[in-house]
């Protein structure tokens, strides 16, 4: 029989946009009161803009369970974690928590730049709720995990950002709460350190502790969690087996990506240059609905500049994301051609990709336009990008199952000790 570690019931958090932002000085507050007073008689009053960051969220997590929380930006994931870690209070609802909680909403919280690595270990650990004798016992282990032994008595302001993050995560990784709440901390550090962190997370979850993870990386969520929650606009859209919930998330992304680009509200940037459309073309510049593995494809990005203006030093780029949301590759005007790009009026940029190295499946595109280093228009999941599977290596074999829209294809050959003839060189590759 399993026992409950966290039980949330009808959890809601309400934010008033105006109150927190606009009245930060006494004068504003007084003016606001006065305005309210004068408008009282006339019966007019501005409605206070407000929204529910989290609304009616209920769920249970059993002891020893690893639960993933996924959703778009602004879906309420961070607010939910903040409520669970007692940083902010819910407006309605209750949470019952059984066990010591440690939450890592950011690594290195409370690090002081003037203090040495050694001193910061004690400071950070105390903030995360570790007892001093516990820190002393694990001190060597923490330092070894971080790999900054030689600099342990150097103020952390002299650390590289990588060292800083490694030390911070090392402290966090040695917490021993019954419940661990983690937010996106894995998005930092180099690949090998990330791997180390993932290993640590798995170890933590296997040791019978309850873990809640928020991440945008579906690979991590699928790898670590048995169950997941999908949040949409503050509500629970889906809860259950990780695989089903992740699929629901992918569906949500797809429906968003099929919206006409001009109508997309979720864009970031100055907006003086806007992306208006994306077309897929084959090598004869005929419009196509889907690209094909191993064939040439042209991704055409149409743009429109603000009236009569000319934008110098522009960069237009598009990147391809796999089905788990992972970045696969980026095509950017500046990388292959150092000549400055100037945009005016309307027009398009073609990215010509010969011999498309992607397996069949549903991908997503992410677009980005900038001028003089300022982001003009950035849209995540701007459009779906379908690829039909074809015989990339000319051998009659398709990619193994599980690799659809997941990873890229590379040209390679293999040899064995018995037969060094190079017979296995892919047919089409040899032709070139």
């Amino acid at each position: 029989m399993s026992t409950v570690a966290i039980r949330a019931e009808g959890l809601s958090k309400h934010y008033r946009l105006g109150a927190a932002v606009q009245h930060n000085t006494l004068r504003d507050q007084v003016m606001h009161r006065l305005k309210a007073l004068t408008q009282w008689g006339s019966g007019r009053s501005e409605p206070d803009p407000s929204f529910w960051a989290v609304k009616d969220v209920s769920f249970e997590v059993n002891q020893g369970e690893v639960l993933g929380i996924i959703g778009h930006n602004g879906a309420g994931k961070s607010t939910l974690l903040k409520i669970l870690s007692r940083i902010t209070q819910p407006t309605k609802g209750t949470v019952d928590i059984y066990g010591r909680v440690s939450s890592l909403l950011e690594v290195g919280t409370g690090f002081h730049s003037e203090l040495t690595g050694r001193e910061n270990i004690f400071l950070n650990a105390a903030m995360l709720g570790m007892r001093r004798d516990e820190v002393r016992r694990k001190f060597d282990e923490i330092v070894a995990f971080s790999g900054v032994e030689d600099f342990i008595d150097t103020p952390v302001k002299r650390y590289s950002s990588g060292m800083y993050v490694r030390l911070a995560f090392a402290v966090a990784a040695h917490l021993e709460p019954e419940i661990l709440i983690v937010d996106e901390v894995l998005a930092v550090g180099d690949a090998s350190f990330q791997q180390k962190c993932l290993g640590k997370m798995e170890e933590v979850s296997r040791s019978g502790r309850t873990v809640l993870i928020v991440s945008h990386n579906m690979g991590i969520i699928e790898g670590l969690c048995e169950r997941a929650i999908l949040l949409e606009k503050g509500r629970v859209a889906k809860i259950g087996k990780t695989q089903t919930v992740v699929e629901g998330y992918a569906d949500a992304i797809r429906s968003q990506a099929s919206m006409p680009i001009g109508a997309r509200p979720d864009r970031v940037g100055l907006g003086e240059i806007l992306l208006t459309e994306i077309d897929l073309l084959d090598k004869d510049r005929h419009s196509i609905a889907a690209a094909m593995t191993g064939r040439d494809v042209i991704i055409r990005m149409h743009y429109r500049c603000a009236d009569g203006r000319e934008f110098r030093n522009c960069r237009v780029s598009i990147s391809v994301n796999g089905r788990k949301g992972q970045d696969l590759f980026v095509l950017s005007t500046d990388i292959v051609d150092p000549a400055p790009l100037t945009l005016r009026g309307t027009g398009y940029v073609d990215f010509i990709v010969p011999d498309l190295p992607l397996t069949g499946g549903a991908y997503f595109l992410q677009s980005y336009i900038e001028s003089n280093g300022h982001a003009q228009d950035w849209i995540k999941n701007v459009a779906p990008f379908s690829v039909l599977d074809a015989d990339y290596y000319g051998t009659g074999n398709l990619c193994p199952p599980g690799w659809e829209a997941n990873g890229v294809l590379v040209r390679y050959r293999w040899e064995s000790s018995d037969n060094l003839q190079g017979r296995t060189l892919p047919f089409r590759a040899r032709e070139k």
Binding site: D96, G99, E106, L128
Partner: protein, 285 residues
């Protein structure tokens, strides 16, 4: 990492926390401060350490500052300004007042800004927020102690021999800490909401020196003003310090009692206000 044992046969009693919208004003939850005592300890240590890191003189600054101030003020106010000091050597009289004043001004400006200064912490980790103004009030006690050591040198120079009353100095230091904490609770919580505090506080502290008997004796305050003057709790602390440190110093203790009452009221009010504002700190900061 070692494995915690959640053994089904011998179930561990896990601590239970219920998170819900707070109700009521009087839930001060001071017990949580005890649970987090190690954090208070380490924050105080951090504040003291960081203050003198990468300085040549290090902690000697805690002595140098009041001594230098005392020398300059003695020249300006005693030699040039002819301000009396109830017949005691002016440097000793002045320094005994500067001791608590340096502490109060430092602790109040650090305590008042302790929440806004730690904004990233407040929005990322949970701990009783009371710990921040509390540890900011405790940390400058170290400086006070060092400045007191320098005072012993001054006493030797002027051949002032302390009496048993010096043993009561910690009581007045505690009173100073209580006053500062009371004010710090209000100021720090208001600062989260109103950034005006950042402008008002330094001015307030600067003027505070003149409405407290630091540079001049209470005997110079007109008799008819004294009742109002005594409402300033800093008066009690400064008079207490002088009474404990300077043999033969006379204090009218009837002036002290009303200000004690004020401190208690402000402190309890501050605790309640702080607790009620605490719920929204992370959202507003």
């Amino acid at each position: 990492m070692s494995v915690i044992n959640i053994d089904q046969r011998h179930p561990v009693v896990l601590p239970h926390v219920r998170i819900q919208p707070a109700k009521g004003l009087l839930d001060l939850d001071l017990a949580s401060l005890w649970q987090y005592r190690e954090l208070i300890h380490i924050l105080v240590w951090r504040d003291v350490t960081v203050r003198y890191k990468q300085t040549l003189l290090g902690v000697a600054w805690a002595m140098f500052q009041p001594v230098a101030t005392m020398l300059i003020f003695t020249v300006v106010f005693s030699v040039m300004g002819k301000i009396p000091s109830d017949g005691f050597p002016y440097p000793v009289f002045l320094y005994a007042g500067l001791l608590p004043w340096f502490y109060i001004s430092q602790a109040l400006s650090r305590g008042g800004t302790s929440l806004v200064g730690e904004a990233p912490l407040i929005s990322k980790v949970y701990f009783p927020r009371l710990i921040l103004p509390l540890s900011a009030t405790i940390a400058p006690l170290v400086d006070l102690f060092l400045a007191f050591i320098a005072f012993l040198g001054l006493m030797a120079w002027f051949e002032v021999v302390p009496t048993w009353r010096i043993l009561l100095l910690p009581v007045f230091a505690g009173l100073a800490a209580m006053i500062t904490l009371a004010a710090g609770l209000w100021v720090s919580a208001l600062y989260v909401r109103y950034r005006d505090v950042g402008h008002i506080l330094p001015m307030f502290i600067q003027l505070g020196m003149f409405v407290s008997p630091i540079l001049y004796p209470v005997s110079k305050v007109p008799e008819s003003w004294r009742a109002i003057y005594a409402l300033n709790p800093v008066v009690s602390v400064v008079e207490g310090f002088r009474w404990a440190l300077i043999p033969g110093f006379q204090v009218d203790f009837s002036m002290v009692l009303p200000s004690l009452g004020i401190v208690v009221v402000v402190l309890i009010g501050g605790l309640i206000y702080f607790r009620s504002m605490e719920r929204t700190f992370a959202d507003v900061i």
